[in-house]
């Protein structure tokens, strides 16, 4: 890797990290697992003047249960999430990120702060009432998942803020399903669909469906949810509801998929994800 020249610091406290970011100005960047930033630097698409490495900052790792929530440290790796089965859909989705090498270095905080429309965890945040804690020079604030993702590679995390922890609902009593469609197992999702369903008998008491890579930010397939909520969880009802999965979406075409194909995939994958969530897959 032959990046442009940059400075590097590895502060030992959160306050020092924030200070380094403030002092470094707009070209200072945080380094967590490095699996988004380093490739960009390798291709010289990013040329930060200063890297503030979080690896020595204490308290940013780990997964712990707090009443009806999980608290996840921002530097928790995808691999650690994958191997925390109690996390349910978060663990299931983390297990599909890239390949084992990436999962052992990449972090949930880094992924969420980067805000790549094709990355897997943002849509899960929408389904689990997720929120993130941001620490900046002016103190701490909490941002819900619905407000975190602004546009392509753009999040609500300020240039001088550190994303320190993530809270997600434990989703007790919800079934979940996840369908990630890609050409190779290590690829980003062409389209991904995560679904959680709260069933009461054979009836859908509640349902949430999250779409990955169907727009500039993760989306909720609200039309699907409305079509299924309160109804019997039959294969026919699920399939009919899933027909609305692409409603209101206009994902950009890329090398592997036209807009129309992505919309088609969203419908197919939504059907399958909901079926998985109700155990009917």
């Amino acid at each position: 890797m032959i990046p442009a020249e940059f400075d590097y610091t590895a502060p030992e406290s959160l306050q020092d990290a924030i200070s380094a970011l403030v002092d470094g100005g707009e070209d200072a960047k945080l380094l967590a697992g490095g699996h988004s930033l380093i490739p960009l630097m390798k291709l010289r698409l990013a040329a930060p003047s200063l890297l503030v490495d979080l690896r020595k900052v204490p308290g940013l790792h780990g997964v712990e249960r707090q009443n009806g929530h999980w608290r996840i440290g921002a530097l928790t790796t995808h691999s650690a999430l994958e191997h925390s089965p109690d996390l349910g859909i978060v663990a299931a989705v983390a297990a599909t990120i890239a390949d084992p090498q990436v999962r052992h270095r990449g972090t949930i905080g880094g992924s969420l702060a980067h805000g790549d429309a094709a990355s897997d965890l943002p849509a899960v945040m929408l389904l689990t009432e997720g929120e993130v804690t941001l620490q900046g020079p002016n103190g701490q604030r909490t941002v819900g998942a619905g407000d975190l993702f602004k546009d392509y590679l753009t999040t609500d995390v300020g240039e001088d803020e550190v994303l320190t922890e993530i809270r997600v609902s434990a989703m007790d009593g919800w079934g979940y399903g996840h369908q990630k469609f890609n050409r190779r197992s290590e690829d980003w999702a062409m389209v991904g669909v995560a679904a959680v369903v709260k069933a009461n008998g054979g009836t859908c008491e509640d349902v949430r469906v999250g779409l990955t890579n169907m727009g500039s930010v993760p989306l909720r397939a609200t039309a699907v949810e409305e079509a299924l909520r309160g109804r019997e969880l039959s294969a026919e009802n699920i399939a009919r509801a899933a027909e609305s999965a692409a409603e209101g979406t206009n994902p950009p075409a890329d090398l592997n998929a036209t807009t129309e194909y992505k919309r088609h995939l969203a419908r197919v994958l939504t059907k399958r994800a909901i079926q998985d969530a109700v155990g009917a897959g």
């Binding site: 469609f181 690829d187 129309e260």
Partner: protein, 794 residues
Amino acid sequence: MSVTDEAPAGHVGRELRRKEDPRLITGRARYVDDISLPGMLWASFVRSSEAHATIVSIDTSAAAARDGIHAVFTGEDMSDLGGPLPMAWVPPGVEVNNPEHWPLARGAVKHVGDPVAVVVGEDRYAVQDAAEDVIVEYDELPAIIDPEAAIAGPPYVHEQFGTNRVHEWSLAGGDVEAGFAEADVVVERRVINHRIAGAPIECRGVLADYRAGSLTLWTATQVPHFVRLFMALLLGLGEDHVRVIAPEVGGGFGQKLQVYGEELFACWASRKLDRPIKWIETRSENMSVAHQGRDQISAVKMGAKRDGTITAFHVKILADFGAYNMILTPLIPSLGAFVMGGCYKIPNVQTDITGVFTNKCPTDAIRGAGRPEATQMIEVTLDQLAHELGMDPVEIRRRNFIPKEDFPAETATGVVYDSGDYHRTLDRLLEHVDVAAFRREQAQLRSEGVYRGIGFCTWTEICGLAPSRITGPAGVGVQAGLWESAMIRVHNTGAVTVYTGTSPHGQGLETAMAQIVADKLGVDPSVVEIIHGDTSMGPEGRNTYGSRSLATGGEAVAKATDKIVDKVKAIVAAELEAAPEDIEVTADRFAVRGSPDKGLALADVAGIAYVGAVPEGMEPGLEETTFYDPENFVFPFGAHACIVDVDAETGKVVVQRYVAVDDCGRAVNPMLIEGQIHGGVAFGIGQALYERVYYDDSGQLITGTFVNYAIPTAAEMPSFETDRTETPSPVNSLGAKGVGEAGTIAASAAVTNAVIDALRPLGVDYINMPLSPMRIWDAISSSQGTNAEGGAQS
């Protein structure tokens, strides 16, 4: 594996572990990038951002002013070269438009990545920073990307020719029109064999050191001997003053069968600056400027009688060569033409090739080089023919096989296949694949909405590139003899060093050659060292490509060793007072026949040879050299089957089984063969399902990284099932044929046929590769009338 019941008598035939592996596994191998020299400078190339443009100006001042930068060069600075980069094919009677191709562009750029300038400085980071400071002003010209539009041009890639056509070349036998007139059914196909990358894990790299009148070049190449010749010619040096070393080389796949401008630049600059010059390619550079392969659009036509007998096969190939002719570019499609009838007895066969320039990276040999394209055309068309005749795809193959009694078999176009037994490989394949059971399962699954298909590929190919009489200037027109050399030195202690003119780079030739020598000399393979890839060590050689290194290089080693054996026998006979013809080799000595305990080990004989106590009239020492030029090519063959599941809702293909039965003649080391088949099949599956080099309409490369250039990983591969038959080649004493390209030549057709077999109930009868999910979904939707929107790219 159930090839033969006979246990091998010696080392040949055994699955000896690779001698190469300890240094590779422990990280002790030395690649170009592991080598540094005192005073070394780094180079970084400034490359064209435009597909086609005139260079208005190049401002190097800011780059040159940076700390640690020693020089910035442009094309004009290299005006003292002896000539442009080489193209070594001069086909008799055929005109080839061949533009000058320089290491640094002169006045115009012809594809994205074309080098415009180069920065030389003290560290690798500084030169890349400085390269970004070189300001190039371009005057854009129309980008010529679509080969079919290009052949109809203007506009032109090279204005001076007044056409984008590179050449036209045909090979015909019989009379295809008469053959089609006899046919009851004629199938036509437009077969697109898309552009792919070689993508070796080690990118290219060079280190050139010119000092005191002599040049040493370390380069990640398959062809150090060719590189030495052209460095000498183009720099005005004697070959005696040029040493080219291919150290450990991390894969080539044909991409490193080349004489590259970066190699020439580094040598030139080292002489100019009197400093060693190093350049290590980035992956992005490798994807955009190292030569690529395939890229053919073909009109394919096959006719047959009602009983399935093929009467004629005619293909018209439009081959996209990109912006320049590299060393063998226009020859590559012709390699396919030599086996355009495949393993079938077809009386009328014709191949018409038109080469075309476009503003893309040049193409040249990539694993298989012309033969995967030929096999794809034959095998997908044959499957459609079977379908239209209502015949089983296995049966139509059997019906048309060249029978084993015909060998050596001359094809319609005059190529003589050395040996083959095609029914036997197919029979062996069908022992592994129960087709009747598969068809029952397939029908059952279809009723459940699962689309499973099976595809076959029975094939042969032409390899072991040699002999000079056919390939050379008076034959096909390659401006070099393609023989191979070997030199064997038995040391005083009986250790053996073998110098081969081949240049292996991952194949395991060090192991295979040691097995051959060990048997002949009665020693263990561990005491036989193989030296390769260094032009100053051993005789002139012809390098590694075209699945040639065992059939030509291994045979040269065998022949040189035979000369040693003759001398050893004479010495032993004299010592034991026996006749030389009564001396035979055992596992550890040369002994008189019938008295195996009475004999001399090689070390004893070497001792005698080096103290000079040899029979009167015999020279001392124990060292021999051979140059071997075979009588013919060799023609491996095989029968492959692939089983896939296609998700009809999404278009995704999953390979469930891949069974390969190959015959590459007598096996020197079955494990090495299996390794080559695994890699080759993976390469072919990669092209069939995943990989494609893609340029947009403006000539920008979209697949510049491994994110978009989708090389499959282990997760996408089935567990390969392999088996072999052994039909010895009569061409060489080993009975061996090549195997490096075999899997690749077979696999893409087997996969394509499997996908089509799965989709026939949905009304799909052909899709061009790569069989990506969207393409398959598009094909299903079009056939079912459910998709309003087409336009699949990838």
